[in-house]
Amino acid sequence: METYQIYSLTSAVLFVIGIGGVFISRHFIKKIIATIIMGGGVFLSFVSFADRDALAFADPVPHALVITGIVVAVASAAFALALARRIYQLTEEESFTNDK
């Protein structure tokens, strides 16, 4: 088994854990963490595919895409966190009352 294969399989597992977490977790914070885990899986897949042909010059495009993606994901997670904290301040709710 090659290195990239280990991590590309890991990426699929993380992605599914993330999706499951978003739907099953109840607490807002855990839902947000789940989206980041999902993102981690996606970004890992980008880079692991790029690592396949071990050339001297690795494909820089996925690396750049992943850096962009991580920053974007963090910005939306920070926003989600602000929303979650505000909801908790106003209503003392830590999760959506009617489960989706």
């Binding site: 897949s45 495009v61 974007v72 709710e93």
Partner: protein, 511 residues
Amino acid sequence: MTDLPISPYPALLVGLPILMATLSLFFRTRGEAIVGIIGSLLTAGLALIAFVEVTKMGTVIHILGGWEPPLGILLRMDPLASVFIGMTAVVGVFISLYAWRYFPAQEATNGRLPLFWPLWLFLWAGLNGLFLSNDLFNLFVTLEVIGISAVALAVLSGKSPALSAGLRYLLAAITGSMAYLFGVALIYGSTGTLDLKLLSQVLEPGTTTSFALLVITLGLMIKMAGFPFHFWLPPAHSSAPAPVSALLSALVVKGAFYILLRLWMEVFGVSLTYAAGQLIGLAGAIAVIWGSWQAFMQTRLKLIVAHSSVAQLGYLLMIFPLIILAPGVTADSADWLSPVWTAGIYQVLAHAFAKASFFLSAGIIIMALGHDRIESLRDLVGHMRITALAIGLAGVSLIGLPPSGGFMAKWMLLKGIFLSGQWWWAPVVLTGSLLSAGYIFMLLRLAFAPSREKAPFRPVPKKLEVYALLLALGSFLIVLPADSLVQFLESSEIFGSGIETILEGGINGND
């Protein structure tokens, strides 16, 4: 590809709103609004100039940084994109004018809403960027710009129901874009390119492609509130301030639909099956019935309108089974493609105008009454003639009665359905129309009913009512240039084409 005429407009259409949004941050509330409205007018003007340019020159491109794909990114403004951009500009400018009057008028009752203008301009830039984009990853970034600004706009009122709905919306949006991005990773890994045009040449069917198609479709379905994932839409759209509801419903959800259409038509043709089209059509059909029924059951005006959005988006999904041809059918022999595409584009346009008008009218009613429970709509005609007329016209277009844009959409859809022989979709279209007629006429009956007591209608700026009415009229006026519009769109590569499926049977690669 790169021999097409180069134009600066695509870059300006994204850059200008962001420039104005950033500049507006330097001012306090009133100054922010002034810069904001100037930014909106400039962006709309620019969009119309660009639209005219495309009608003259055909598809134009802008090669960002001078680096050609696959390494660089290319913006492409073809007739289809320019129609979406034009729609955004026209609807956007009316909503901007409305917001310009609406927020100061609200100030006394509801407090100020700072940040509306920069967020709205960011949203506009994101939408323009999405319609112009020709690159899978860039589409993700524009989707995020749209997602974050849309949710931020939706929670501007700061009340807890809006915040809760907003968080649900945001989590759905993030999940949707991550699912989309996973598909992009798989596609890039298996082809080494992100450019849509190049992808259509090199993508090959296989497990990976099918799975990528699956996650991309699921992600975009979440974003456009397609049937099993519609849960976030009604609360988010109904709890936002009126101009924002109008933006979210009329424009934002169309973005995800636009990408879905583009990707299915341009990129994933090799991996699609007839059954995949049928399945997504089924999701649309359920949305039409379920959304209309839910709208019928609501007792608050904004919730009715929001649920009706779920149904109207369902119609858009129903064009997929008709443009994905059964094995053995060639696109040349399929004479229903042109009506179906016309139906699709008119559904988008008519819904944008009518729904924006509807939400703006709802905002006026809330301003006048302080709430939007429908039993207080009694004698609306007596007090607010213009708003009642706007609701009536928008309603007629949503039902699909002649001579509205909605009628054009549904008529063409039915025509396409019968020409293609897929008769089983016809009852859905008719039932949906009947149900929407049900809730619209219920509203109108109340509006004409005499009130029992003296209703406490507060005065509302006349101009607000006029903007809502003009948008409602827009959903009728779009029918007039129908022939030239369709002709213009047919010079776009994907408009009027169908997908000839290669793979047999199975729902391999769909949801």
